[in-house]
């Protein structure tokens, strides 16, 4: 990366943007392959919202980096060690229940995060959050709708949904474990103390699980440090695909 991205406010924006971009990218992989046409369209809408949100964070970050840095420089020219997203969002899609479990967990967190960010001391972040909150409310309804239907649907869907919760719940501890980027953001008044979001998150998720007649699985938490740039092996492949064109033709503009 030829740009200096060490500035803490840039790091925080990258963290926020990376979650949105990587999850949006994963959801976009469903496009053309959804379980039913109507759902294909719904998943694409959510992916569009998320990639659109990532652009807003990156544009702001690029402006602060200065010197002509662009949103695409930040998305396409950082290595996986420089990405600051949660490990949860980079996990492969799995089946539709897996995608909905990952989505439910992230949407609930994202909703609470944006709610707090509306009052961010960083006025530009607050403005982005206010707009995104509306979209995210819809995302959270969408994933909750599906978790409820799959949990309380057929035997097969119930089994798959329960397995999906078990697969992704261990990734959620990272959401509430402050990393350097969170600590700095909290100290400077840009973002919430993520540990404080755990209670409300538990409440939101439990409410959905109860409607879905599903138990919250008892699973140990994974030790994850995606926010510090230590990711799962899958992110490298995701980025290799995503970044391939600009890197194959470094002199080209698109």
């Amino acid at each position: 990366m030829k740009w200096d991205i060490c500035d803490p406010s840039v790091q925080y924006l990258l963290h926020l943007g990376d979650d949105a971009l990587i999850l949006g990218h994963r959801l976009s992989e469903w496009c053309g392959h959804g379980p039913v046409l109507e759902e294909d369209i719904a998943l694409s809408n959510i992916a569009l919202d998320l990639v659109g949100l990532a652009r807003q964070y990156y544009q702001l970050a690029a402006e602060r980096v200065g010197g002509g840095c662009t949103e695409d420089d930040l998305a396409y020219w950082r290595s996986d060690r420089e990405f600051r997203n949660h490990v949860l969002v980079e996990q492969p899609n799995g089946d539709f229940a897996d995608t909905m479990a990952r989505q439910l967990f992230f949407d609930a967190f994202h909703y609470l995060q944006l709610e707090a960010l509306q009052n961010s001391g960083d006025a530009q972040v607050a403005a982005i959050a206010r707009k995104a909150l509306k979209e995210t409310t819809y995302h959270a309804e969408h994933s909750a709708d599906w978790v409820v239907r799959l949990g309380d649907g057929t035997e097969e869907s119930r089994r798959r949904m329960a397995a999906a919760l078990e697969r992704f719940l261990p990734f959620t501890a990272e959401l509430f474990t402050p990393a350097e980027v969170d600590r700095v953001a909290f100290e400077r008044g840009w973002g919430p103390d993520v540990a404080s979001l755990k209670g409300p998150w538990d409440h939101l998720v439990l409410e959905v699980l109860q409607k879905a007649t599903l138990e919250r699985p008892e699973v140990p938490h994974k030790l994850l440090r995606g926010k510090s740039g230590i990711h799962s092996e899958s992110l490298g492949f995701l980025l290799a695909e995503m970044q391939s064109l600009p890197r194959a033709y470094p002199d080209a503009t698109w």
Partner: protein
């Protein structure tokens, strides 16, 4: 009861006078069958057509390009949905139509059996394939069957950005580095002839054409549409410095149209018969999505059945207030 032949002749007069036919109106059986075949084929083309472009969503070279491509492919899903809905008004269920696609009984536009190999193909598909499709769709906005015509009006309104974004990609590439320009020309070379084939065989070899014209389902002949498309597209290629891969292409002052070389219809019929480069992959992908989604669709139905009691209609007064 008037004899059927009489009704059919009157029906011809009726549509010839530019009247629209609506779902519950009487229509000849063959008209209904032709429409179901054509509309569902059109819907399948939108759905299968998502695949070659979705192939590049995860590799779009900029965030802007990623958003545009995703929105475009999503639109195609929406268009497929509008068209399935239009066909359903004729009494054929979407399930049946999807089944016909997956078993290979129904066709879709054979253009989607070609691979998308480079980013320039996203440009060529938007510019040429959508361009050719729009040529056809604009005509179909005036088709005689009401629901089809209304779906087309909606689709044309939404499609307008599709061709422009494709051309924009080509323009950027054609004005970019040597490698980008070569990529653009290569894409044009590969997509040009298949795009011309999209309009279908010549009118003298297209037996259903005349009947469709009489029914006002179709408003222009395959050859006329193809000529319009070529006349429109050649100057667009010249403008960005790309060469149409047809040595016989020449402006004919007398005709006021471009003359063009012979189309290789053996290739067209081979692809239609299932032997194009990607026929197998495209159908496989649709079958897999459908099969993998079966338990999801069943689950939602089971849930709805369990909870239908709770959703029973509220009192009339309450529902009136709610609806307003």
């Amino acid at each position: 009861m008037a004899p059927t032949v009489d009704l059919e002749a009157r029906f011809l007069d009726y549509v010839a006078a530019e009247n629209k036919v609506e779902p519950k109106d009487w229509m000849p059986d063959a008209y209904r069958k032709t429409l179901v075949r054509q509309i569902s084929q059109h819907a399948h083309s939108e759905i299968v057509g998502m695949l070659p472009e979705a192939n590049w969503i995860t590799r779009a070279p900029s965030l802007r390009a990623k958003l545009i491509l995703l929105a475009k492919v999503q639109d195609e899903g929406g268009h497929g949905l509008y068209l399935y809905s239009a066909a359903e008004t004729l009494g054929t269920s979407r399930d049946q139509m999807v089944d016909d696609l997956l078993t290979g009984k129904a066709k879709y536009s054979s253009i989607f059996n070609y691979p998308t190999l480079t980013w320039a193909d996203m440009g060529a598909v938007g510019w040429l394939v959508d361009g050719a499709a729009i040529q056809n769709q604009v005509m179909l906005c005036r088709t005689s069957y009401g629901p089809y015509s209304r779906a087309m009006v909606r689709i044309c309104k939404e499609e307008s950005f599709h061709q422009r974004q494709g051309y924009e990609i080509m323009m950027h590439l054609a004005r970019g580095t040597q490698e980008q320009k070569a990529m653009a020309q290569d894409a044009l070379n590969r997509w040009w002839w298949p795009s011309l084939m999209m309009f279908g065989p010549s009118d003298d070899k297209s037996p259903n054409s005349a009947q469709s014209m009489a029914w006002r389902i179709k408003r222009k002949s395959n050859d006329d549409l193809r000529q319009e498309f070529i006349d429109k597209t050649v100057p667009q290629a010249e403008f960005i410095g790309l060469t149409i891969p047809d040595p016989d292409l020449k402006w004919n002052e007398e005709r006021g149209h471009y003359d063009f070389g012979a189309i290789d219809w053996t290739e067209f019929f081979a692809v239609v018969a299932g032997n194009g480069p990607c026929n197998t992959e495209r159908l496989e992908a649709r079958r897999k999505a459908h099969a993998d989604g079966a338990w999801v669709r069943e689950a939602a139905t089971a849930y709805a059945a369990k909870h239908s009691a709770r959703r029973a209609a509220p009192s009339p007064a309450a529902s009136k207030a709610h609806a307003a």
